[in-house]
Symmetry: C2
Subunit: 191 residues, 2 copies
């Protein structure tokens, strides 16, 4: 049996690591908890691209990072990647109340994954970004969850918030799942 | 007469340049329009510190940058430095409506100035941050202004929004003025 290809996942979150390992079967996913500075951009795509560029200076293996955001239609895509700060400062209630003045509660939960392949010659480094996006809307909190906005996000076509779903159910349809599967497809095609 | 000391102001904004020159009399303020990446942090202090670190790699003179933000008490200091994105995506109305769910409309208009002195030996570089802060509250738009949030910010102790004041009046009390004066005091003390 051939040796499994190694991928480094830059994260300090064990739940995300477990999820990634489950989806990227056939690959050896190792975590590295490096605190990389984040760019102030309203699209996670730009943030992960920049992060991977930094990460490639620190690791010798193929590497990936992820950025999760909540993009409200009524706010032109904000708070987007800034969602974590609103959760930290105002909680779920505050995150929901950002939409108080609006009837439109539509939102996209988006995960961007930046994937990078190092090269001796910096110019030959390869960086690719994968997007997983789930449309839904913001609702009154329902269900318990460790994950930030899960109780207030109701994905379209479902009658349960992310938090009301059992873990396997959520992981089957989540924005992060979609992005990780795109990464897996890419890896399998380029093995 | 001694030659004036040169300071580089990294900005693409001619109004801010004019204001800085007015306050930093006695110094030769030159502008450089370099687009420096911005860190995703909720305090402008960290943002300007990081920016100056980058700027010092590009210029040979003493250099400063500024970051202006609107820090809402009800939102734990947010949107803070992210205010520009909200202005861009949701306009002044949207910026005001972030507070729809709250009675507390208190806000701080803050300007952070990062000032840096280059050195051959990178470890001897000097970086200092100055803060100018004006307390006030968010109100229905009044007055015309080119400047982003001026019509909806009413500084404490005044009965006019920033936008309703004539330019000289605003520039006498503004958050940017306060920060620039701290920079001037520092420069005069260390000349």
């Amino acid at each position: 049996m051939a040796q499994k290809r190694t991928l480094i996942f830059i994260t300090g979150n064990k739940n995300k690591l477990r999820e990634a390992r489950g989806i990227l079967k056939g690959f050896e996913v190792r975590d590295r908890d490096i605190d990389l500075p984040e760019l102030q951009e309203t699209s996670g795509a730009l943030i992960v691209e920049d992060k991977i560029r930094r990460a490639l200076k620190l690791v010798d293996d193929a590497v990936f990072v992820e950025d999760t955001g909540l993009y409200y239609d009524a706010l032109g895509g904000l708070p987007g990647p800034f969602v974590k700060w609103f959760l930290e400062r105002t909680g779920r209630r505050g995150l929901l109340d950002l939409l108080s003045a609006y009837d439109d509660k539509t939102a996209y939960a988006k995960c961007y994954i930046g994937y990078g392949i190092p090269a001796r010659d910096r110019k030959k480094e390869k960086i690719i970004v994968f997007e997983g996006s789930v449309k839904g809307r913001m609702v009154e909190p329902a269900g318990e969850s460790k994950f930030g906005f899960d109780p207030i996000f109701l994905p379209d076509g479902h009658d349960k918030t992310y938090a009301q779903m059992v873990e396997e159910e959520k992981n089957r349809i989540s924005h992060r799942r979609l992005a990780l599967e795109k990464l897996r497809e890419y890896l399998e095609k380029h093995s």
